[in-house]
Symmetry: C2
Subunit: 354 residues, 2 copies
C-alpha cells in the first residue's frame, strides 16, 4: 500500500512537473524545423503552428508513455526506497537548469531582448507561485485520501481530472468547446476509466462521502493548476517560453523544498538526500523533466485539452507496449475503453467550432 | 448451462418475433392520436410522423425492458421446463391472430381497399419467408456455438449485432449515416458491452477462430434478417402494416413448426405441446408478441437503427429497474457503459445529416 502510494505520488508529481517547464531537446527541433520552413518560404504561419503543435503533442505522448513504462520497470526491480519529495525537487531543478541552458543559446543567437531577458517585474512574476502552491496542496491532501480510498481506487478517481480540466478550461480561459467536443470529453473520461477496470474496481463505488469530496477537491486543484498555468503562459504570447518556465520552476523548486521539510525531513536528515537512488531513479527524473518540458510546450502552443488527450492516449499506448515488454495481459475492458477513447479523439477533431 | 441456453434462445427468438408482426394495442393508440391531431388540424404530416415514431419507439423500449424483467423473474422462479420452440410457435400464432383482429376492425371502419385486403400476389409474398428462414437458420447455429463459447460470452458477442445491423443497413437499404452517427453507433456497441462486463468477461477473448466466425455469421444473419424485414415493409409504403405482418407471421409460424420438428419432436410427442407451461410462460409469450408488434411498427415508421438504440436503452433500463425489484447490484462498468450509451444516443440525434 505504502509502495503504491509512493508510485502514485511520483506520477502526480509528473503533473507538477508538467505545468512548469523549459525548452531544449524537442523545442530545438521544433524551432529549427520552423526556421527551415520559413527559409524555404513553404509554410504559412498557420502551417507552422500546426506542425509545432503536432510535434510537441507527439513528444508529450511518447514521454508520458515511456514514463509509465519506467514506473512498471522500477516496480519490477522493486526499487522505491528513495524519498519522492527529493526526486521531485531534482526534477524542478533539472528543468530550471534546462531552461537556463536554452536561454543562453538563444541569447547567443538572437541577443538579449525584452521578450527573452530573465529579469522580470513583480506584476509578471506574482502569479507564478500559484500553480506550484496548488500542486503542493494537492500532494499533501493525497496523504489523507488514502484513509478513504485504496490506491487502485484512487487511480480510477483520478480520471475526474479530465472532467475538472474541461470545466475549468471553459470557465477560467473562457474558451468554448462545441457540444460534440464536450461529448468527446465525457467519453474520454469514461474510456480511460473503462480501460483501467479490473475485478476490484467496483470497490470504488463504496467510497464514503469524505472520500468523494477529497477526490473532487483534488481533481479541481489539479485541473485549476493546469488551466492557470496555461493562462499565465498565454497571457504574454511574445514572452519567451524559457523565461516563463524558469520562473515557474524556481517556485516549483521552492515549494518542493517545503514538501521535503514537511514530509521527509527525518529520512533526509538521517539517511541523506540521495538515499535509495538507483539508475532507474535517475532515468525517471530525466524523463519527468523532459515530459515537463513537453507539457509546457503543449500549454504554450496548444492547450490543456490537447494535454489531457495526449496523456490519455499515452496511457493506452503504455498498455500496448507493456504487452510486448512485460507480457501484460490486455482485458476486454481495455479494448472497449481504447475504442471509446479513439472515438473521442475523433469527435474532438470532427466537432471543432467553425 | 442448458438453462442459460434456453434463456438465450428465447431472447433471440424475440428477435424472430421482432421482425414479423401486427398492429393492435399501441398501434391503436397511435392511429387514434393521429386521427385526433388530423381532425384538429394541429399537426403537419411531419409532426404526426414524429409523434408516431416516438410512441412506437417508447413502446418497444418499455416492452423490451419488461421482457428482460420477466426473464429474470422466471429465472428466480426456476421455471424453464417448457420447450422453447413451442413457445416461439405460439408467439407467431398470437401475432398472426392480432394482425387479423386489427384488420377486421379496419375493414369494418374503412372498408376493404387495395392497401388493406389480405389477398396478395406471388410477387409481393415471395420475399416474406426470407427473414423467418434466416432466423431459423441462426437459431439452429446457436446450438453449435455453445461448443465454442459459454453463455455469458455469447451475451457479450451478441453485441456484434449492433455493428452488423449498422453495416447492412448502410449496404442493403443504401441509407447514409453521418460520420458522427457512425461514431455514435460504434460507441453504442462499446457501451452496451461495457455495461455487461463482469469478472468472467475476459474469457470471451480466448474464443477460438471457429467460435468468432460463428458469432460473426450469426450477427450477420440477425442483422440481415432485421434489415431485410425493413426493406420488405417499406417497399410498399401505402400497404397496410397488418397485412404485411400477417404474411410475415404466417411464414414465422411455418418455420417455427419446422423448428419444433427438428429440435423438440420427442419432447412434444412424449410430454405434450404445453408441458412445463406456467403463468410466467404465458406472460412471456404475451410480452414477446407485443414486443414483436412494437418492433414491426418501428420498422414501418422508423428504422433498424432506431430499433437497435431502443433495445439497447431497454437493456440499461432493465438493469436499473432490477435494482429496485431484485436488489441487483450495479457495477462501475455499468455506469460507464450507460454513460457511453447515453452519449451515443445524443450523437445519433446531433449528427443527423441535413
Amino acid at each position: 500500500m505504502e509502495y503504491r502510494k509512493i508510485k502514485d505520488e511520483f506520477q502526480d508529481d509528473h503533473d507538477v512537473a508538467s505545468d512548469v517547464e523549459s525548452l531544449k531537446g524537442k523545442s530545438h527541433t521544433v524551432a529549427s524545423s520552423n526556421i527551415a520552413l520559413a527559409t524555404l518560404g513553404v509554410g504559412s504561419s498557420e502551417r507552422t503552428n500546426w506542425k509545432r503543435k503536432g510535434v510537441v503533442t507527439c513528444a508529450l505522448t511518447i514521454l508520458t508513455s515511456s514514463q509509465a513504462i519506467l514506473i512498471v520497470w522500477s516496480k519490477r526491480a522493486g526499487k522505491y526506497e528513495y524519498s519522492v519529495t527529493t526526486a521531485n525537487f531534482l526534477v524542478e531543478t533539472l528543468k530550471c537548469a534546462l531552461s537556463l541552458l536554452a536561454l543562453t543559446r538563444i541569447w547567443k543567437n538572437e541577443g538579449v531582448t525584452d521578450d527573452n531577458r530573465l529579469s522580470t517585474t513583480y506584476d509578471e512574476v506574482k502569479v507564478f507561485p500559484i500553480p506550484a502552491a496548488l500542486y503542493l496542496f494537492k500532494n499533501l491532501l493525497q496523504y489523507y485520501i488514502f484513509a478513504y480510498v485504496d490506491a487502485p481506487g484512487y487511480q480510477i478517481l483520478k480520471n475526474l481530472n479530465i472532467i475538472s480540466t474541461g470545466v475549468l478550461y471553459r470557465i477560467i480561459l473562457k474558451k468554448k468547446l462545441s457540444e460534440i467536443q464536450w461529448a468527446g470529453f465525457i467519453l474520454l473520461c469514461c474510456g480511460c476509466t473503462t480501460a483501467q477496470l479490473n475485478s476490484n474496481s467496483d470497490r470504488v463505488l463504496q467510497t464514503s462521502l469524505p472520500g468523494w469530496i477529497m477526490a473532487i477537491v483534488m481533481a479541481l486543484l489539479s485541473g485549476f493548476a493546469g488551466v492557470y498555468t496555461e493562462a499565465i503562459i498565454k497571457k504574454r504570447p511574445s514572452r519567451n517560453i524559457n523565461v516563463q518556465n524558469f520562473w515557474l520552476y524556481v517556485f516549483g523548486m521552492a515549494f518542493n523544498a517545503i514538501a521535503i521539510v514537511i514530509q521527509d525531513f527525518d529520512a533526509v536528515a538521517n539517511k541523506g538526500f540521495f538515499h535509495g537512488y538507483s539508475f532507474i531513479t535517475v532515468l525517471m527524473i530525466l524523463n519527468h523533466a523532459l515530459s515537463g518540458i513537453a507539457v509546457s510546450m503543449v500549454m504554450k502552443y496548444a492547450d490543456n485539452i490537447v494535454k489531457v488527450y495526449s496523456t490519455s492516449v499515452a496511457m493506452l499506448l503504455t498498455a500496448v507496449v507493456s504487452v510486448f515488454l512485460f507480457n501484460f495481459h490486455l482485458s476486454l475492458a481495455f479494448f472497449l475503453g481504447s475504442t471509446v477513447v479513439s472515438v473521442s479523439v475523433y469527435l474532438h477533431s470532427a466537432g471543432k467550432l467553425r
